[in-house]
């Protein structure tokens, strides 16, 4: 940055930032401030005239609500298992795709494709292939003799949880693949040559050369994905609506149901504030490990 040049026409600079400033203030900062403020009010959208300041009672309500804690633990399980599978599959697929083979670009395209499929579409396809009576998955499993009774994928609590995890893993593993693949391509080849000279086999080379090189990107990816996965709404709501019962509720679904079904926007907002607090903790970890985020990749 050169001084004379940079200071020359401040007006243009301010003019260019103005649309962003206005949009950010009205449609980003204000709603978030409002979301926090609403958490301290009793707010029914049908009776805005009855809005009253209630202090921390919305928070007291959710912390005393067993469903809130169920949602919290279910979200934790959902997030943990999703991240484990995404990371393992993601690294595996990245290693597979990181080979100089003719036609690898086609495989890469096909394996990254799920990332851009609308969640609504995945949820519809999931409901179709995991349909207990007519779905192809049960057909195949019954036919192969793996199971003797159809599995009720979306109507038993544990299987519904498994189905939403599968949906999530299927859709977001490509994100891990993209990040890991980008990193793999910048690992110096000399490291592998040196390891080969030292007589290291493929597994040793992976553990001693590849994995340490991937450590940084994996931490970033895992922190990012944990934050996002924990707060996902559509991936659960569109597939199971949080059901059967409330067995796949997470905090986002809980907040949505409080706001829409129970018309308690204040309680929904308080849940949102709890989510934001946890998200901030995650972000702090992220900023720590990434050195204030100098070089992240686009998703």
């Amino acid at each position: 940055m050169r001084n004379g040049y940079a200071l020359s026409d401040r007006a243009v600079g301010l003019l260019f930032i103005a649309p962003f400033a206005v949009t950010a203030l009205f449609f980003m900062v204000y709603p978030i401030v409002e979301a926090i403020r609403m958490a301290f009010y009793s707010y029914n959208p049908l009776r805005p005239d009855l809005t009253t300041f209630v202090g921390f009672s919305n928070f007291a309500y959710i912390f005393n609500d067993p469903l809130f804690w169920d949602s919290f633990w279910q979200a934790t399980v959902w997030t943990f298992l999703s991240i484990v599978f995404q990371t393992v599959f993601g690294v595996g697929m990245a290693l597979l795709l990181h080979q100089a083979l003719p036609g690898i670009a086609i495989f890469r395209g096909l394996l990254l494709f799920p990332y851009i499929v609308p969640t609504v579409v995945i949820a519809l396809i999931w409901r179709w292939i995991f349909n207990p009576e007519i779905g192809v998955v049960n057909h195949a499993l019954l036919g192969a003799g793996v199971i003797s009774q159809p599995i009720y994928w979306l109507s038993t609590p544990s299987m519904a949880m498994a189905s939403t995890i599968m949906l999530n893993v299927w859709k977001y593993t490509p994100f891990v693949v993209i990040c890991v693949l980008a990193r793999l391509q910048s690992v110096p080849l000399e490291l592998y040559d040196a390891a080969k000279v030292d007589g290291a086999g493929p597994i040793r080379r992976f553990l001693d050369v590849t994995l340490p090189q991937l450590k940084e990107v994996l931490i970033v990816v895992i922190v990012f994905r944990t934050i996002w996965t924990f707060n996902k709404f559509e991936e659960i709501y569109l597939l199971t609506k949080g059901g059967p019962g409330t067995s796949t509720f997470n905090l986002a679904v809980y907040s949505f149901e409080q706001s829409i079904a129970n018309l308690r926007l204040g309680v929904g907002a308080a849940t949102g504030v709890v989510m934001m607090v946890m998200l901030s903790l995650g972000s702090i970890i992220y900023l720590r490990v990434s050195g204030f985020g100098e070089d992240e990749k686009a998703p």
Partner: protein, 299 residues
Amino acid sequence: MSKSEFWTLTRRLASYAVLCAVTFVVCFPLVWALSTSLKPKSEIFATPPTLIPRTVTLENYEALLTGRPQYFQSAGQQVSSGTTPAQFFTRWFVNSMIVTLGSTLISITVSTLAAYSLTRFRYWGRNVIPYFSLLGYMVPSIIFVFPLFLVMVQLDLTDSLLSLVLGYVCITLPFCMWLMWAFMRSIPIEIEEAALIDGASRVQVFTQVVLPTALPGIIAASIFSMIVSWNDYLFGRVFLNSLDNLTLTVGVMLFFEGTHVDWGLLMAASVLMTLPMAILFMALQRHLVAGFGAGAVKG
């Protein structure tokens, strides 16, 4: 054939076998959806199910595109008698297109101008804003969708496509901003200085020097923005309510409201919904590969 050649060949074949297996598993849900969408009603429920339709028919697509009111006699309360969700499909498709393109255009324009300003001019906060923007991107939509909805109520914009355009700007702008900022920062400033010294105006410099150089960043941000807007369900669900104004994601979920679910029609809708993103993805693939760097050619 020498021993090492033999091993190379074996390893390649093994790699292809694993790649094909993984690709099959990953792509199966999409292939199955496509297959179902091309089957006549009788074959959809055939036992055993067929992956390649015995009879290929376009009747499901025809029903969607012409709005043939054949199914859904008892669709849910939102759908009055005599109308079916299928009748609105093309309308919803156009709506989705409008909000996707509209919000992307705004997000890209605003973020490009802002990123240029932040990287080329000196004022207070210019190094902090991008990081706050990134934090804004981490905040899940569920937290500010209701406050934002209340903003739309105040602006008298509810149930309008414009409200959705603004909503999508809110979710996409933070990341576009971050991406454009990172990109602009990497563009050397010397060329602009030279052009300015040669007597070019600031606007000329921006349109003729900066924008062409920033094009890859603009494309990446646009693709991101379009995917997010096209795929969103939550905002559409909260902001819109009349059948005419719905977007695809919200509308197609109404197909479930009836007592009878027409899977062929649903899968055809899923395919058509994925198609624009698939086309975009093919364009994106080149940029992805280019972005991964010249290091892609590995021996």
